[in-house]
Symmetry: C2
Subunit: 350 residues, 2 copies
């Protein structure tokens, strides 16, 4: 999957570092007024009228992605999108990114062209400028570091820390699909290892696989909330599973919460795939991760403004801290919400 | 060297990702007025009155550093400093950083504490705030991604691209020491492998070893130039060797240059160590790298202002592009300047 789609294979050393960066970024355009200087100097220059919002992530092959089922173009796209999601989670507008990659000599120039094609696609769709970065060698595998930059006015910015007792807990879109997409891809990869001739029909899984391989960040939600004249009291993006994100908001805001199992938004294909894999849909939503939806709180008074909006679901409400953080099950049981632990660190090979 | 200086060894998994970040960053203070929100939310919030300057680098174990002779505290310090150097190279002030690390289970909590102690030291000395980052696992080794953020007024910002014919080529400090420090460390590491009991006397090399292990960025130069009322016409930091940096300025500014071998500033200990290693000092300066001094151009009219300043050396002058880029040797020979190539990509193990 790395480079079997093209016949030409150019070694990275044939170009050299500076020519490689020039080559990979030649098709990128600057479209943001706030970008005063992009790639090609010691640093980029940005001029925002309001605040500058900055977030950064490091993605590691074998930990965050597996090239056995993640095409490089999708990976480039996803690496950008997951970082932009953090900017939107501040109720802000994303404007620029920087991208640094380290890769071993297993990668060809053509492979990196694919990766950068995905990065460029994300830049176009989300209207952000690539303004800097670094291309270097690694001893093993591929590492991608993305810094996302955005802007927002003081009164729009939404932190995790300002949820208040009685606020409503709201989520965009639906949850659990990315995790179930990964389960299908892992299963198909095992089948492929046993029988490479097998041509699986993945049509029933197309939505959940797309949510895993090509997630989208909710650029539209800050705009929608502005249009609805709703200023959220707190906000976070759902990268690690709903449970851990609710606990982040509650810890930062020093509040508790009640989450209602029967309010959780699941796509029908997530429900059917959970049945097929004998997994509990609620557990998948709480612990699955990689949905990149936005979780936020609003004042009760704002409820009429968001009611019946197809993009938004009210899934619970904020309580005082001493009431704790619970999920109320369909059977009306009240169970304390726990964060998913940090995934175990793989053993180092040599 | 990783963790043999402490008896306690705590596995990373014992803390978990979020507690680990909290633990490592607990002693960091916010000191910049422009930092409106630091670590602990989806993104940091920065409010600069003027431009925001951004630069990013990815450092990879086995490519950019070797923990056999690089203590983790020094590595943390250096990772920050080399990024700040890019901000100063825009004639700007550094204000914030973000740091992301990926590390394998070979590293203990105590090892990362050492790394972050070095990062904190750099933040204190350079007066920058740590405002974000990411801690994750890697399959193999340690990767560090630093994004440096700064600010500067429009009229102060200095790009690579505005050097003009007849401008003077100026460099801060002295050159070649970091490269020769590395040669000494590599030699001592080979000796150590053969005889671990050997206690080498590194006193004669203390300056050049410090330049390699604990480089400093020239925060003082933008301030000095402001005081001297000199606005440089172009500027770059010397990370890859003088030769490649001069060629960058000439390419970006569409000019040529003459560099004078007898004007190159070398510390006496660099000259003596070059003799010991039978290396040519000029070659070391041109191709060695990691000096993190600033190279810049000024108008001839500004020469009286910088003349005899102990921090600055005039090493040549800018010409028209068609004259090319040359070094004039002590024997008065004119030799075309060539860039050092990209270092060969190591073979991937498995």
């Amino acid at each position: 999957m790395l480079d079997n789609h093209k016949s030409s294979k150019t070694k990275l050393t044939e170009l050299g570092e500076f020519k490689l960066i020039d080559h990979l970024t030649t098709n990128f355009n600057i479209t943001q007024d706030s970008t005063k200087l992009g790639i090609g100097d010691d640093a980029a220059i940005i001029k925002h009228t309001h605040n500058t919002i900055i977030s950064t992530d490091l993605l590691v092959e074998g930990v965050h992605f597996d090239l056995a089922y993640m095409p490089l173009k999708h990976l480039g796209y996803k690496a950008v999108v997951v970082n932009l999601s953090d900017i939107y989670a501040m109720n802000a507008e994303a404007t620029q990114i920087t991208v640094s990659i380290a890769c071993s000599n297993r990668f060809t120039v053509e492979a990196l062209e694919e990766l950068y094609a995905g990065i460029q696609k994300a830049c176009e769709i989300y209207n952000v400028d690539l303004v800097g970065g670094d291309t270097t060698t690694s001893i093993k595998g591929l590492q991608i570091s993305v810094t996302a930059i955005g802007t927002a006015e003081d009164e729009k910015i939404t932190k995790r820390s300002c949820a208040k007792d009685n606020d409503l807990l709201v989520v965009s879109g639906d949850l659990g699909a990315a995790y179930m997409g990964l389960q299908v891809l892992k299963r198909e990869n095992e089948v492929f290892k046993v029988n490479p001739q097998n041509q699986p029909d993945l049509t029933p899984y197309s939505y959940i696989i797309e949510r895993q391989l090509k997630p989208e960040a909710r650029k539209d939600i800050p705009l929608l909330l502005e249009k609805l004249e709703v200023q959220p009291t707190s906000m976070i993006d759902i990268s690690d599973g709903l449970s851990s994100e609710i606990l982040h908001i509650c810890k930062s805001s020093k509040v508790g919460a009640n989450l209602f199992e029967d309010k959780l938004p699941l796509d029908p294909s997530v429900i059917s795939t959970c049945e097929e894999f004998e997994l509990d849909g609620t557990t998948v939503v709480l612990n699955g991760g990689e949905d990149y939806e936005l979780l936020f709180t609003i004042k009760q008074d704002d409820f009429p403004k968001i009611k019946a909006n197809p993009h938004l679901s009210v899934i619970g409400h904020i309580t005082t801290a001493d009431e704790g953080v619970h999920i109320i099950t369909r059977a009306n049981q009240k169970i304390p919400l726990k964060a998913r632990g940090w995934s175990a660190i793989p053993e180092e090979n040599g």
